[in-house]
């Protein structure tokens, strides 16, 4: 047998189709103009650059899993799928219910009332998480024995950002999503181009809290890291400039590599849904790829950067009508924390899109 050598991590999955999408956000709306008025100056510059006017913050009681479970209940009902039909769930998040143990996907199996003959898996990725999660769950299903499965992708970054750090807090928002998949021989292939560069991990990281740097008392001490940047080691730290350069160079290259590998004409694609980082960065990416504005939806104005939820949240809140009524050719691209990124090409045909839920 001759194995063909591929220089990059390309994956092509046949026989799996997306049947539905749903999303749930916390009901608390945070207006960045209010925060800026209270704490910092320069809101106009901020909002013109990032595009992020509002985001949602979850209360203390609401976890990422709660947002995802609410979305899943609604989508299963809208699809008229029986819970007993679900044989796999993958949960993508960096804000788990418990500190490492146990895996949140196990708890979700029980909370959704799924049968015990159910494959569950947690994946700890952020901005690239939906694309990675899709690659895992669709590959699992490609064998043909798991007929229906759910990908839950959600995060509550508001919980790990310092409210006094303007380089993170105003940018991120909380959201949970679910994507319903079904085995189907007539499905068009889903194609992926996946990448990782761990050497850049410091660009987006939380310093303390794992076993490498366990939490100590000093991890909670708030320190100043420049004007408007007060945070502790337990908080998210982001080097916006490094992330910006990473995003504008890697995301377009991933989309190009995917399209070249699978001979995809970008003109034939109806929707290009990118991770919602910030408007300035995303517009650079769009311009580099010379994509028509009308084909590149944004939800960041209203919901901010929602980590692994950003791509499905954007589809649910901005493209529902199109997705419900038409056959749509997609490219999606997630990029960020890891550093990890990936692009995917897929089709949807008149899928179920639930109305946005609030919790």
């Amino acid at each position: 047998m001759i194995l063909s050598f591929k220089p990059m991590a390309f994956i092509e999955v046949k026989n799996v189709a997306i049947r539905g999408l749903a999303a749930c956000v916390p009901s608390t709306v945070v207006c960045n103009s209010d925060i800026y008025d209270k704490k910092w100056s320069g809101y106009d510059n901020f909002v013109n650059t990032t595009g992020i006017a509002k985001h949602r913050n979850s209360s203390k009681e609401i976890c990422s899993s709660d947002l995802c479970v609410a979305a899943a209940e609604k989508l299963l009902s809208d699809l008229s799928w029986e819970k007993s039909e679900i044989e796999a769930i993958v949960f993508v998040s960096q804000t788990h219910d418990f500190y490492n143990v146990p895996a949140t996907s196990c708890l979700i199996q029980d909370r959704l009332g799924l049968k015990k003959e159910c494959y569950t898996l947690d994946i700890a990725l952020g901005c690239s998480g939906w694309v990675y999660g899709m690659s895992v769950i669709s590959t699992l299903m490609a064998g043909g024995t798991i007929k229906k499965a759910l990908l839950l992708a959600g995060d509550t970054p508001s919980k790990f950002c310092s409210p006094d750090d303007k380089s993170t807090y105003p940018l991120f928002g909380d959201a949970g999503t679910v994507t319903a998949l079904e085995c189907c021989e007539a499905a068009s292939p889903i194609r992926y181009a996946m990448y990782t560069d761990g050497s850049g991990y410091k660009a987006i990281n939380i310093g303390a809290g794992g076993y490498r740097n366990p939490v100590t008392q000093s991890s909670f001490e708030i320190k100043n890291h420049g004007e408007g940047r007060d945070r502790a080691e337990i908080h998210l730290e982001m080097d916006g400039e490094s992330v910006f350069v990473f995003g504008i160079s890697k995301a377009p290259k991933a989309v190009k590599a995917l399209s070249e590998q699978y001979s995809i004409n970008l003109d034939d694609i109806d929707l290009f849904t990118f991770h919602q980082a910030n408007l300035f960065m995303n517009e650079k990416i769009r311009n580099k790829l010379k994509l028509d504005e009308a084909k590149v939806p944004y939800s960041l104005q209203e919901y901010g950067n929602t980590s692994c939820a950003s791509i499905p949240l954007t589809l649910v809140t901005r493209c529902a009508k199109q997705l419900k009524n038409q056959k749509v050719k997609h490219i999606a691209c997630g990029f960020g924390v890891g550093l990890s990124w990936g692009a995917m090409n897929f089709e949807t045909d008149s899928i179920v899109v639930s109305d946005l839920l609030e919790l």
Binding site: N45, A203, E241, F244, V245, F280
Partner: protein
């Protein structure tokens, strides 16, 4: 890579600063128009024109256009 081309590309990112202001010795962080957004525009220009991806800390360590030019040049 020519310093004059680099200076022209650098100056292109500014809207309200005369092109004649920019020399190799210009301390760009001291210009009235300098902002965090301009820093991103410069990083994007370096990516697009020279296919060089700078890290935030590398960029922050430079003060004059010559220093930034040398940094980019060292990565070509």
């Amino acid at each position: 890579m020519e310093i004059n081309d680099f200076i022209a590309n650098f100056a292109d990112q500014f809207e309200n600063t005369e092109a004649s202001v920019f020399t190799p010795e210009t301390k760009f962080r001291e210009l009235d128009e300098w902002s965090s957004l301009l820093a991103l525009s410069i990083l994007a220009m370096v990516d697009e024109e020279y296919d060089v991806q700078l890290k935030g800390e590398e960029m922050r360590a430079t003060n004059t256009i010559q220093e930034l030019f040398d940094l980019v040049d060292s990565k070509l």
